[in-house]
Amino acid sequence: MSHADTHKLPLDPHDFLAIDSLLDDQEKLIRSTVREWVDKEIQPHVADWFEAGEIPTAELGRQMGAMGLMGMHLEGYGCAGTSAVEYGLAAMELEAADSGIRSFMSVQGSLAMFPIWKYGSEEQKQQWLPGMAAGELIGCFGLTEPDSGSDAANMRTTARQEPSGDWVLNGTKMWITNGNVADVAVVWARADDGTIRGFVVPTDTPGFTANKITKKLSLRASVTSELVLEDVRLPADAVLPGVASMRGPLSCLSEARFGILFGAMGAARHCYETALDYAKERHAFGKPIAGFQLTQQRLVEMLVRVNKGTLLALHLGRLKDDGRLAPAQVSFGKMDNVREAMWVAREARSMLGGNGITLEYPVIRHMVNLETVYTYEGTNEIHQLILGQAITGETAFS
């Protein structure tokens, strides 16, 4: 005998597969808290910030810090210590507003705080983490350079250690999120012995300059900078003692990519929901455009992608909370969820017709933002190569 299925009808277009039922009460409360903050503090302003190419980072930092968003999945030192799934859900809500806002949080928590938390000395942790968790100190992460991005291991920035023990850094870092607004930079450089080391660099150190990158057409509600290091002299204890290889920066990227694979689905969800509302309201040829077969097909494709991607994110989140998530699995999620989000954003953009090209609606903003998300934290191709290597055992990077 089969059990009769009990389901609620009509199905909820905003949670079609009842994915919410896979979340516990605390996860839902964290999500609704972030969503409410985003609706009140971010959504009404973000299009203007995007257009102006400026965001009030100091104020946002404080508000996000007060809630517990900064370094939320880390333990101790003023961090909230949530689960990975909760971190992912928060990233999803932030990116539903704008990828730039999520980037602000990802860089702070996963790229700047995480290496200090994981590889730093006790003194470094005490000095930096509480202020960063409170959002009063902003961090950035300098790995990419003008001539090395996907092949970050080919970096040219050097760290020379003098007989006194002092370190002297020279080089240029490129595309650094939060660069101009950061109080502290975690900079990766090649030491004399050829190893890759991480340095905690207060941005007011002489020889350190940040130049804001302008003329961006993507991630405009985020600060992107070039960092110039000219004989930046640091005390011996500025180096992160816990790691001396590319494993350092790569482990940070894995943390941030994890946030992105949730976040991208936030952007996709917002595009799908905007398109769905629009299609029901907008009339053409005497009826709502939602009534045309071609429109329905596109809406259904969006629905399917948003739900599959969200399920994937949640599954990977559960693996991470179980301590069983491999970096290549993170690559799977980052690669697929971002490209699916781009697909959804483009369809939504076109479904809004002329309205779809203005900042009055969120779709083109998400669409162009996702171009950055597709590129940073490992380009689509790099993740394909990581996955290819994982299943074939052959490396095809070079």
Binding site: D25, Q26, L29, T33, G68, A80, G81
Partner: protein, 252 residues
């Protein structure tokens, strides 16, 4: 200062609702939220407790569901909650509600009781005054600002023309309007701690209150559709017509 706050868990106003065909009561989903109105009360209570070394106890009557609304208020910082959940109280009118709340509050030590002015779902707007009367304490209602030195409380009471200043010494009940203070967002740490905070679930019998709803709903009719108003086209005399219409409606 010991503060008791009346808070109501309500179905998410953004979600669909249905009525029980037999009792005409709202079908309460397990998933409920803290009534927005009561967030102001919770915030006010927290600020007063922070200024005057006190504690905040939530008092609520209604189906507990999964306690999401109560946890929300605990996550904001309240210390504990007393929840009266009794099937027999279903459909209670405001007087029964007030009796239950007053009995639950009377079991606690309190200097100040805070409530909203009217709930989002029931919105009768008379529970707070009834609670105060039953407790035998003064009530200061419609507060847009609340100040206390710990032994007396003064408020600005919203009026049509402006505000009155009224005060009373503790113990006292204050009903606060939306906007009296800006409610804080729960912090993630607060959300995680909320799970450990005590929630005491009791019945009317535990409080020694007779559980009779006090009212029965006989039938429910949809609100009549609003009729289209009269259009006044301005040909220079429109203001006179508008004034005449307002006079006829006896509103001016």
């Amino acid at each position: 200062m010991k503060v008791a706050v009346c808070v109501k868990q309500i179905p998410d106003p953004a979600s669909d609702y249905s009525l029980d065909p037999a009792t005409h009561n709202l079908v309460r989903p397990a998933e409920q939220v803290l009534d927005d109105t009561d967030r102001y009360g919770v915030e006010m209570a927290l600020q007063i407790a922070e200024q005057h070394e006190g504690s905040v106890t939530l008092v609520s009557m209604g189906p507990s569901g999964n306690l999401q609304g109560i946890r929300q208020a605990l996550a904001m910082g309240a210390d504990k909650a007393v929840l009266v959940d009794d099937e027999e109280l279903k459909g209670s009118d405001s007087l029964t509600t007030a009796k239950v709340l007053a009995a639950a509050i009377a079991r606690e030590e309190y200097d100040l009781v805070i409530a909203g002015t009217e709930s989002t779902d029931g919105y009768s707007g008379i529970v707070p005054q009834q609670v105060a009367a039953l407790l035998g304490i003064p009530s200061l209602t419609y507060a847009t600002q609340v100040d206390t030195d710990g032994s007396s409380v003064s408020i600005r009471r919203q009026t049509a023309a402006g505000y009155d200043e009224v005060s009373a010494s503790t113990p006292v009940l204050v009903s606060v309007t939306a906007g009296v203070v800006e409610p804080r967002y729960p912090t993630f740490k607060g959300i995680m701690q909320a799970k450990q905070k005590p929630v005491d679930t009791v019945t009317a019998g535990d409080l020694g209150v007779e559980a009779s709803p006090g009212q029965a709903i006989r039938s429910v009719q949809p609100a009549p559709a609003r009729e289209a108003g009269e259009k006044v086209v301005d040909e220079g005399e429109a203001h006179l017509q508008v004034v005449a219409a307002l006079e006829q409606a006896k509103v001016v």
